[in-house]
Every structure is written in C-alpha cells, then in structure tokens.
Amino acid sequence: MSIKTAQESGLALCPKCHKLNDMEEGADIHTTMQCTRCHGMFYPRKPHSLQYTLAWNIAALLAFIPANIYPIMIIYSVGIGDPNTILSGIGEFVDHGLYPIAAIIFTASIIVPLLKIVGLFLLVYRVHTGVRLRPDKHSKFYHALEFLGPWSMLDVFVVALLVAVVELGFVTSVSAGPAINYFTLTVIFTMIAANSFDPRLLWDKDQSNENAKEKNDC
C-alpha cells in the first residue's frame, strides 16, 4: 500500500501556517497560490529549488577557502601580533591538552560546513538523477544538516567575545582577522542553501516511481 500525497490529491500545503489549500484546475506545482488562512503567497514546491541550492552551495564553498587561509584573529602581546587561523586555533587547544574543546571547534568550524556543502551537493545530484535515491535515509540526513547549520557560528562568537574581553591596551589585545568575514559568509550561505532545498522533492521522485510500478502491475 502506498501513501497518498497532498499533491496527488490536488492539495498544496502552505509552508507558513500549514493549511492545506485546494489547487485550482490545471495548476501545477510551480503556480503561485494564496493561502486561504494566512493570505500568504506560496508555491506548492519551492521553485528552482535545486538550482538555488546549488548556487548558494558553490558560493559557500568558494568563501570557505579564504576562510581557512587568512587569520581569523590576531593576538597582540606587548605590541607583537600573532595571527591565528581557524586550524592553528584548534591546534593550540590540542597543544594544551584540551581535546574536548578542540573537538567541538573542529566539528563546528571544519566538519559541519564541509559536511553541509558535500551533503547538499549529493542530495541535489541524487534528486536530479533519481538514481539510488533513498528518501527515508536522505531526508534524515537533510534534517541533520539543517539542524547543525547555526552551530558553525561558534568560532565567530568566540572571536567576538575575545576581541571585546581581551582589551588590556599595550599588554595584550585581540583583533579579528579577515577570515572572519569569509567564514561567516560560508555559514550564512550554507544555511540559505539548506533552506532553498525542498525535502519533499526527495519523496516526489519515489512517489512517481511507485505509481509507475503500480500501473505496470495492473
């Protein structure tokens, strides 16, 4: 037995207030609709979802390169500046034996952004080709990516705190480095990319396959 979807029943879900709306005769998933409950305009599926996801994803990847090359903060001690990149900052925690903290920053700053970028490329590719698409697995993966996104801002907040707290004039002070701009852009771009992806596309392909199978069986 297969599950019926809203789309097959000629219904579309408002993404804002979760009200089901009747689709007009002849309307398809890219026709703008107005919600009867909240009066917002919406599409039954996010239009050009894959293209937008891909574009924001490429932007995120490009910004991630300078984010790791340039220093994210510069620590001044008696007038001498010591530039720190994201990776050298993690290395310092390792040197001090603070492995859990090093692991947290490494996960938030390196693993999560890369996982999001690679993961979204993979999801876009799988939806586009429809080959080996596993909606149950892939939708869980997508939600994990979406949940992890904001945690990548960790390093930016740490730098902001250090810049504000460590302000002891000539003795020692901290300044942010150019990488903080690129890194923040990476995080924002991956968040927008994940937001542009419509997880229902994962199931739409599956549904049409199943329907085709059922027709063949008859």
Binding site: S9, H18, V163
Partner: protein, 208 residues
Amino acid sequence: MNTTKDTSQLIACLQCDALYDTPILKQGQSAKCIRCGSILAERKVDSIERSFYWSLAGIMLSVPAILLPIMGVTLVGQYHHASLLDCILALIEHGFIMIATLVFLFTLAVPIVRLLGAFYITSSFKFNRLKPSLLHFFRAFHHLDNWAMLNVFMLGIVVSMYKLLDDTELSVNMGLLAFILWLICSTMAASSLDQDYIWQELENKFVD
C-alpha cells in the same frame, strides 16, 4: 482526480507531503508521519499561559543579559570586562561592520523580536483581544525561526573561557547568569508556543 474533501479534516506532512486525516490530539500528545518520521501535529500543554509567562520573563531578563558584563580578565594588574553589547561595539571599533551586524541580529535583535512577538500573541489570546492583523503578524513571525543563536553564543562563552583560562586570570560576572536565564526563557517561550492551536483559533475567528 479532484477529491472534494474538506481540507480542514486533512493534514499533510511538511517534510514529505504525505496526506493524513487530522488526528484528534489531547494536550501533550503529538502525531508523527509514518513515512518520514517528522512531527505532523502537536498539541502542547497549557500553551498560551506557559508561553506568556516565559516570554514575559525573557523580556525582563533581556536588559541585564545584554548590558551586564559576562566575564572579565585580569593580567599584570589590569582588568577589563565585556558584555554582549560590548562584543558588538568592539567589532564595530575594529572595522568589522558586517560581522557586528550579523552578531547583533543573531544574538540580540532576533531573540528580542521573537520574545516580544510571542508575548504579543499570547497576551492577545489570554486577554481575548484577537485582531485579524494577527494573521499577518504570526505569519511574519515564522521567518525568524532559524536565526536565533543564543545557544550557539552560550557555547562560544564556554569555549572562550577555556581559551582565556591559561594565560589570564578569568572572572565570571553577573551577566553570565542573566544570559543563561535569558537563554532558558527564550527557548521555553518558543518551544511552549503551540502554533497549530493558534492558527486554528485565528482561522475559526477571522476566515470564513
């Protein structure tokens, strides 16, 4: 093809579009989509009351949480401390305007607007002052969901403490306590707000 079913008797999964009959839920119950496992509908316990008081407490706590110093450092006899607002001002001073703007939005503006929004909606329900404009207000309210990052900032405080512990004398200030309480209040205010219930009530009143 076009089934003329009453759409209020049906709900669809936001994540996979599967269609179900609207489940009848008691307070505290939730329904899950059998296909993708995400939550379809939820009926929260005492939603309006709880969200009202959490958001009221959050609004009051936001002032000390933002203005009181969170932590300070002492090195060779010199002391300096900083609050959440100081972080934003320091970034502006160093010329990082974009970062300052984003930190301002994620840790200050969005959380405050969400608290005020939750307070406005729940107090309208509590004191029976429902207006049609609430429909538009509540719709705009949802755009903010992903962009409040107080919890991430909290982890940032912990990490920077470890970073400072080694070379300086670290002191913790009242601002940290206020910030933690603020974080708890805004999380609770958001999670106790029953969106399905509010939409249903607004629809019954203002949409024919």
